[in-house]
C-alpha cells in the first residue's frame, strides 16, 4: 500500500522535528544521561524482537531470542543506569559531604 509508507514518512519527519526541538534544550550538564536515556528508548527495538522471537519460523525464533536478550539489556540497563546517574546530580553537597566537612 502506497498510502501506508507515506503516512509513516509523516510520522518520521514530525518525530525527528520534535526530537530535535526537545533535545536542543538539554543542557551540556546532562548530555551523558541524555545518551544513556535515548539508548534505553531505542531499546524499543525490543518490540520488533518480540515479534521475531514469537513467530512460527525457527531461524526467526533463534535470531529473535538473541535480539530480545540484547534489547532487554539496553532497556533495563539503560533506564537503571540513567536513574543512577541522575540521582548524583545535586544542587547542594550531599549530607555525606557535610559530615566530612564537620570532621
Amino acid at each position: 500500500m502506497t498510502s501506508d509508507w507515506i503516512f509513516n514518512l509523516y510520522v518520521f519527519a514530525l518525530a525527528t522535528f520534535v526530537g530535535y526541538q526537545v533535545i536542543s534544550r538539554v543542557p551540556p550538564l546532562l548530555h551523558t544521561p541524555l545518551m544513556s536515556g535515548t539508548n534505553a528508548i531505542s531499546g524499543i527495538s525490543l518490540v520488533a524482537s518480540l515479534l521475531a522471537a514469537g513467530s512460527d519460523h525457527f531461524i526467526s525464533q533463534v535470531l529473535g531470542f538473541v535480539a530480545v536478550t540484547c534489547a532487554s539489556i539496553n532497556v533495563v540497563g539503560g533506564f537503571l543506569i540513567t536513574d543512577r546517574m541522575l540521582r548524583m546530580f545535586r544542587k547542594k553537597p550531599a549530607p555525606a559531604a557535610k559530615q566530612e566537612k564537620a570532621s
Binding site: M1, W5, N8, V11, F12, A15, T16, V18, G19, V22, I23, S24, R25, V26, P27, P28, L29, H31, L34, M35, G37, T38, N39, I41, S42, I44, S45, L46, V47, A48, S49, A52, A53, S55, H57, I59, S60, L63, G64, V66, A67, T69, C70, A71, S72, I73, N74, V76, G77, G78, L80, I81, M85, M88, F89, R90, K91, P93, A96, K101
Partner: protein, 464 residues
C-alpha cells in the same frame, strides 16, 4: 483493523508521547528523574501491548530472552563504575545495533519474497545500519578499553574503500528491492555492514571518541527507524527518530566544539598530521617548570580564587573524589572554587559532569566554556587535571596546529597555572602544548590522584 490492533496502536501512541515527555524532562536536573520514570512507563506499555499481538504465537523464546537480558542489564548497571560510562554506552550501542540487525535478518528469512518493494528497501537499510552500528561500536569499545590501539589506524586508500563499500551496499539494496529472492545479495549487504563498521571506526583517534559515540547513537536510531518502516510500526519510527536526532545533535555540538566538520572527523584520521616521534625533538630541548607538591601548595595557599579544568586524565586516574576533596579544603580556607567543563573533555558528551556529580560536586559550580572563559583573567590559580587539547593556546594562535580554531579555555591568562600530568609525553593527539612551557605554568608530574591527595595534606599542614 481489529479491536486488538486498534488498542495496540493506541498503546504505542501513549508510549511515543511518554518518550517525548521523558526527553523533555532532561532539560533540567530537577525534572530529569521524573522524565525517566515517564520513559519507563512508556516502555512498559509498549512491551505489554506487543506481547498481546496476534502474530506472537509462542512465548518460550521471549521469556528466556527477557529474563536473561534483564538480568544482565541489572548486573551491568549496578556494577559499572562511572569512569567506565563511555565504554558502557559504546557497548549498549553494540547491543542495540545487533538487535536491529538480527531482527532484519529474521524478518527477511520469514517473509522474504512476500515483502513489498518499500519494505524490502527498509529491511535492507535496517540490517545494514544495525550491523554497521554493531561492529562500529565494538571497535569504539575496544579503543576506549585499550584493547585496540587508541591511535588512528590508517592504510592506503581507506577512504576510497569505505566509500566504495557504502555505495556498494546501496546498490545491493536497490537490486534486492527488485529481486527479493536473491538471498546471497541480502547477506552480502549484511556482511558489508559488518565490515564497514570496523573499517570506518579503526582510523578514528581516541580523542575524537565523543563524536564517534554520538554518531553511532544516531545510526542506532536510524536503524530502529528503518525497522519501523519495514514492520509498519510507528512506535519504532518515533523512538528511532528521537534517538537519531539526539545522536545527530550531539555529534554536531561535539564537532563544533572541536571546530571540525563531520567529514574531517570521519575521513580525517586526526593525529596523523604530526608523528609523535617528530614532535618529540622539539619538546625535548625546551625547558619547563617542574614543580613539587610543596611549590603548588604554596601557590594555592596564596590564592583567593581557583578554577579546576578536568580532562580525560581525571577519568583515567579516577581522581574525581580527590578533586572534590581538594576543592573542599580550599573552600574551608575561604577560596572561591569553580570548575570549567569543556564540551569535548573526556571520551563522551557530558563525561566530566557525570564524574564530578558522582563525587558530590554541586552542579551549579560547573561552568561551560562560554560561561567561564572571561573569568580566567581574574583567577589566581588554575588546576588542570589531565586535560590537554582543551587548554592548548595553539588553538588560538598557531594556524599550522591541527587543532587551530578549536574553542579553548583561556587558562594562560590566570596568574598561575598548575598542570597535573602523568609525564611530558604529548597526549593521544600528539599535539605539542605551548602552555606547558610558559613561565607562569607549573608542571606537577605523576598520577593525578596521588598528587591531589598530597596537595590536600600540604594545605592541612601549613597555616596561612
Amino acid at each position: 483493523m481489529t479491536d486488538n490492533a486498534v488498542l495496540l496502536s493506541l498503546c504505542y501512541l501513549v508510549s511515543g508521547i511518554l518518550f517525548i515527555l521523558c526527553l523533555r524532562g532532561l532539560s533540567g536536573p530537577e525534572s530529569a528523574r521524573r522524565g525517566i520514570v515517564l520513559g519507563e512507563i512508556g516502555m512498559f506499555i509498549a512491551v505489554v501491548g506487543t506481547l498481546l499481538h496476534k502474530d506472537i504465537i509462542r512465548y518460550d523464546w521471549i521469556i528466556a530472552g527477557m529474563v536473561l537480558g534483564s538480568g544482565i542489564g541489572i548486573a551491568i548497571s549496578g556494577w559499572i563504575p562511572m569512569t567506565k560510562m563511555p565504554e558502557r554506552i559504546a557497548f549498549s550501542h553494540a547491543f542495540g545495533g545487533l538487535a536491529t540487525g538480527l531482527v532484519g535478518i529474521a524478518a527477511y528469512m520469514r517473509e522474504g519474497e512476500q515483502l513489498t518493494y518499500f519494505k524490502m528497501g527498509a529491511l535492507g537499510f535496517e540490517t545494514f545500519l544495525g550491523l554497521l552500528t554493531f561492529t562500529g561500536s565494538i571497535m569504539a569499545y575496544g579503543k576506549l578499553q585499550g584493547v585496540i590501539s587508541g591511535a588512528p589506524v590508517t592504510w592506503k586508500g581507506q577512504n576510497f574503500i569505505n566509500i566504495g563499500l557504502f555505495f556498494g551496499a546501496l546498490v545491493a539494496i536497490g537490486v534486492l528491492v527488485v529481486h527479493r529472492e536473491l538471498v546471497q545479495v541480502f547477506f552480502a549487504v549484511a556482511g558489508t555492514g559488518l565490515a564497514l563498521g570496523v573499517m570506518a571506526v579503526l582510523p578514528i583517534g581516541g580523542a575524537d571518541m565523543p563524536v564517534v559515540i554520538s554518531l553511532l547513537n544516531s545510526y542506532a536510531g536510524l536503524a530502529a527507524c528503518a525497522t519501523g518502516f519495514a514492520l509498519g510500526s510507528q512506535i519504532l519510527i518515533i523512538s528511532g527518530a528521537l534517538d537519531g536526532s539526539s545522536g545527530f545533535l550531539l555529534s554536531m555540538l561535539m564537532s563544533k566544539a572541536m571546530n571540525r566538520s563531520f567529514g574531517n572527523i570521519v575521513f580525517g584520521a586526526f593525529g596523523t598530521a604530526i608523528e609523535p616521534g617528530a614532535a618529540a625533538p622539539g619538546q625535548a630541548g625546551r625547558s619547563y617548570n617542574e614543580a613539587t607538591v610543596e611549590d603548588a601548595g604554596a601557590v594555592l595557599k596564596a590564592s583567593q580564587s581557583v578554577i579546576f579544568v578536568p580532562g580525560y586524565g581525571m577519568a583515567v586516574s579516577q581522581a574525581q573524589h580527590a578533586v572534590r576533596d581538594l576543592a573542599a579544603a580550599l573552600e574551608r580556607r575561604g577560596v572561591e572554587v569553580k570548575y570549567a567543563i569543556h564540551p569535548v573533555a573526556g571520551r563522551m558528551p557530558g563525561h566530566m559532569n557525570v564524574l564530578l556529580a558522582e563525587a558530590n560536586v554541586p552542579y551549579d559550580k560547573l561552568f561551560d566554556l562560554d560561561a567561564i572563559n572571561d573569568d580566567f583573567a581574574r583567577t589566581d590559580a588554575v588546576i588542570i587535571v589531565g586535560a590537554n587539547d582543551v587548554v592548548n593556546p595553539a588553538a588560538k594562535k598557531d594556524p599550522s596546529s591541527p587543532i587551530y580554531g578549536m574553542p579553548v579555555f583561556n587558562v594562560e591568562q590566570s596568574r598561575s597555572v598548575i598542570v597535573l600530568k602523568r609525564s611530558m609525553n604529548p597526549g593521544f593527539s600528539g599535539v605539542e602544548n605551548e602552555l606547558f612551557f610558559q613561565p607562569n605554568t607549573m608542571m606537577v608530574l605523576g598520577d593525578a590522584k596521588k598528587t591531589l591527595l598530597a596537595m590536600i595534606a600540604e594545605l592541612k599542614e601549613g597555616g596561612h
